[in-house]
Amino acid sequence: MNRDWQATGAVIDALRVERVAKRFGAFTALDGVSLSVKKGEFLCLLGPSGCGKTTLLRIIAGLEAASDGALFMAAGDAERDVTRLPASQRDYGIVFQSYALFPNLNVAQNIAYGLKGRREDKDLRVTALLAQIGLPGIEHKYPSQLSGGQQQRVALARALATSPSLLLLDEPLSALDARVREHLRREIKSLQQKLGVTTVMVTHDQEEALTMADRIVVMNHGVIEQIGTPEEIYTRPANRFVAEFVGQSNWLAATSAGIGQVLLGDALLGATVTPPRPDGHPLELFIRPEDVQLHASWSPVEAQIVNTALAHVRKIELLGGFYRIALSVPGWGGQQLLADVVRSEFERLNLSLERMVPVSLPANRLRAFGPSTGAAA
């Protein structure tokens, strides 16, 4: 991964967003959003439809004015306030969901649209860019003659042609079918790494964000819920919204019972409870299905593992590369618990609906949030 910026130390951020708000009449689309993008970083804005991702991106681009707050972009070694700068005076390239390729210009003319200078130089640049996006020789085709994936890459080349310091992508892959999308994820990511261009991408597809981003900004209803690396977002979601939006999750109703302990049914379990709660406080336990561990046998060794109990197997479902097992643990109040088990493991476990199976919830993966839809805080 491209992490050069970490080594250099105290370099300034490529882009800093300070308490930006956007109101459309009485409706608040963005409510005090702050974030920063480091040089060379790939940042994803992730969130459900209507949460304000596009609005934020358009404000960064200068296509929309912020109602409040400020924007700063790196200019050499200094930072400059670009809040009120028109789009044409900021330095970025942009790719829209629709690609917005000019239909009456051929590929070469589209890519060279923002280039200035001599004809030969432009031609050279176009050829080089087409080679980079893996589509050499299509200079003279019109957009309507290209497939969706090809159009997408041409739009990317057009945005990169002027070597902008910031690349903005608004759901660049959402108009493509699944296979092309997966292929292009890798292509875009590797091109971004090769060029080291700072990138902000909007998406509502969590898989896309997890595979492409260096850091993810999870948004909801115009506010930021969490900023972190894909690893952090996935394994240590800051609240129930993030945990549910990214990946699969189990939710078990419990109550707090001392530091690092929760009461689930009749059993005391170890869990990560941040911040600590008074005893008896209702909690919701969160664990990912793949973090739930099943054991082949119930011996004293297993019985010693923390947070372990015997579970009924309710349902076994094959989901491609893994099995999803629905369990219920009588000792833990009988709530349904899902566990994902890879095939090899599944064969070793020798599960069946008639037999009970020992299950453990690793304490460092079992996280407790406050009740209701609110955040853990």
């Binding site: 300070e18 308490r19 708000a21 109101r23 358009r58 681009a61 200068g62 296509l63 004015a65 912020a66 109602s67 409040d68 707050g69 400020a70 306030d81 809040t83 009120r84 700068l85 028109p86 789009a87 044409s88 005076q89 900021r90 970025y92 390239g93 942009i94 829209f96 629709s98 917005a100 000019f102 239909p103 009456n104 210009l105 051929n106 649209y113 923002g114 019109y142 957009p143 309507s144 003659q145 057009r158 945005a159 042609a161 002027t162 902008p164 903005l168």
Partner: protein, 562 residues
């Protein structure tokens, strides 16, 4: 850190400043050419002879006259009768064009649209030759009874038929095949299907075309002027008050009243169109028409009859132009084209018309397209943009006669610094551009809306000013629509009488006005000759435009081919 206050704005770059300047310029042109003249009429209608504010006193005075109510009931009778005749005819024709496998559809369509090339005076003249005192078929309307109610109605049917047809063709082309399949599957017969599926879908088209026809007739004064005889209608009444009696306040008051039906029709249509949108879902399946012998034959017969009648009217006017003395001496002659030796304006009128139509076409297209582009695609000068959008829909509701009256009242006011424009070619062109603004603007806006809304954003990110994108992308892509607008403007300006009748001077007399004047002077053959010239010029321009768009589309629209 600077925390900006709410409602922060982004500074305008140079291209945005240019856009804002142009937007204000265009908005100012519309205010000048449309809003102020209309305000002048209102002012006049509310001002007494003594120049003092008279409130509604003059309205009350006119409403008290029996003569006024005669004109009102006559206007309503003519408009309603025409609407009731045109609608079924146009519906049958439109259904034949869209829902049957009738042969020679392009030919029928072209035939049905030819009335668009002629001023509304032409059918009046043709009727004089067919059924008038010396008419070939005067027995059909004995004792000159063609001069009056039926003459006006027949002329207006001819004049409004293509307008109704275009709307109905559009309405009937968007049938959803799934509804018909469902109805058939449920056992609905032919008539049930017509009543439950076809009519509801075409309902808005029918209402819309009824409103258009009604409005066109009630504000038209060409046909009643020529063939109306003693049958007085509102539009002619305005003309008589202003031209005959120089009674501007009275003309203004009747003009204001004439505005009512037009505004009403416009508002109803606007509300309906908003509701219709839901009718067209993206998933509708196009209807595939299958040949059905008896339907196709019947349709062909009906269309041939209707088209034939339209053709007879045009052909009569054209023939009259070349015949020495109808009906006594049927030898051919060009004598009626010797305009320079007759009253009415001479050949200069025709050249003036050509000049005016060309200028209107060029200026109107530039203005409409520029305005639509700036309003749709830029974000500069929000106030001017809103103003422009608002003013652009007004001309649809303003009869030409009323607009023309506004022009005299506004520009002929010595206190107006723009007084020098009065009667000039510039004023005529401005008036025509305004008169047909809404339709042209609708075409431009529709074309522009089909372009990706993000082109301008992409261009801004690439630091390319909007005019480059306009020149390299928007204009080439919208070229077919622009040619449509230019052609529409040319033909409309060539044929219009009502918008210009009050504001021409002897130096700027126009062909359509000459037709009226020559007919007034009793020189009907010369009037027919001039009307024929107008049709010929319009047809020629349409031909030129067709060739031009064919040629240009080969050169510039290659990208459309996949």
């Amino acid at each position: 850190m600077i925390a900006l206050r709410a409602g922060g704005r982004i500074a305008a770059d140079r291209s945005q400043q240019v856009a804002a300047g142009l937007l204000w310029l265009l908005a100012a042109a519309l205010v000048l050419g449309l809003a102020l003249p209309l305000a002048a009429i209102l002012g006049k209608a509310l001002t007494g002879d003594d120049g003092r504010f008279a409130g509604l006193a003059q309205f009350a005075a006119i409403v008290g006259e029996a003569r006024f109510w005669d004109a009102v009931s006559n206007s309503l009778a003519v408009s309603l009768t025409t609407t009731m005749i045109v609608l079924p005819l146009a519906y049958v024709f439109a259904a034949a064009l869209t829902r049957t496998c009738m042969p020679a559809k392009p030919l029928f369509r072209a035939l049905a649209l030819t009335p668009l090339l002629a001023p509304s005076l032409l059918p009046g003249i043709a009727l004089v030759y067919l059924f008038g005192n010396q008419g070939l078929l005067k027995a059909w309307f004995p004792d000159g009874s063609i001069y009056g109610f039926w003459g006006i109605v027949i002329a207006e049917v001819f004049f409004t038929f293509p307008h109704a047809l275009m709307i109905l063709v559009t309405a009937l082309s968007v049938a959803d095949a799934r509804l018909y399949e469902a109805a058939t599957a449920l056992g609905a017969g032919r008539i049930r299907r017509f009543v439950t599926v076809t009519l509801p879908a075409a309902r808005y088209g029918l209402i819309s075309s009824a409103l258009v026809v009604f409005t066109l007739v009630i504000v038209d004064f060409g046909a009643p002027k020529v063939i109306g005889g003693q049958y007085n209608v509102l539009a002619v009444e305005v003309y008589k008050q202003v031209i005959g009696q120089q009674n501007f306040p009275k003309g203004a008051v009747i003009g204001m009243l004439l505005l009512l039906p037009a505004v009403l029709a416009f508002v109803i249509d606007h509300l309906l169109q908003r509701r219709q949108r839901a009718l067209l879902t993206a998933r509708a399946q196009p209807l595939v028409v299958r040949p059905q012998a008896w339907v196709d034959v019947l349709s062909t017969v009906a269309c041939a009859a209707i088209g034939g009648a339209l053709l007879v009217i045009i052909a009569t006017a054209v023939a009259a132009a070349f015949i020495r003395l109808w009906p006594y001496n049927l030898s051919l002659t060009l004598a009626h084209f010797d305009f320079d030796n007759m009253d009415g304006g001479g050949w200069a009128a025709f050249y003036n018309s050509m000049k005016m139509a060309l200028a209107t076409s060029v200026i109107g297209t530039l203005m409409v397209f520029g305005g639509a582009y700036l309003a749709e695609k830029t974000r500069a000068a929000p106030v001017a943009r809103q103003l422009l959008k608002l003013l652009a829909i007004i001309p649809m509701a303003v009869p030409g006669l009323v607009l023309g009256l506004g022009y005299i009242l506004f520009f002929n006011n010595p206190a107006n610094p723009l007084h020098f424009l009065y009667g000039s070619m510039t004023a005529l062109v401005l008036c025509s551009v305004m008169h047909f603004y809404t339709t042209a603007n609708l075409t431009a806006t529709t074309a522009l809306k089909q372009l990706d809304a993000e082109f301008e954003a992409v261009a801004a990110s690439l630091k390319v000013p909007f005019w480059t994108t306009l020149w390299r992308v928007t204009l080439p892509v919208c070229l077919p629509a622009m040619l449509d607008i230019a052609r529409f403007y040319f033909v409309s300006a060539m044929c219009t009488v009502s918008a210009v009748i009050f504001i021409y001077t002897p130096d700027t007399v126009l062909a359509s006005v000459a037709v009226l004047n020559m007919d007034d002077a009793g020189d009907t053959a010369a009037a027919a000759a001039m009307a024929t010239l107008i049709v010929a010029a319009s047809a020629l321009i349409c031909l030129v435009f067709s060739v031009a768009s064919w040629w240009l589309s080969r050169r510039t629209q290659a990208w459309r081919i996949r």
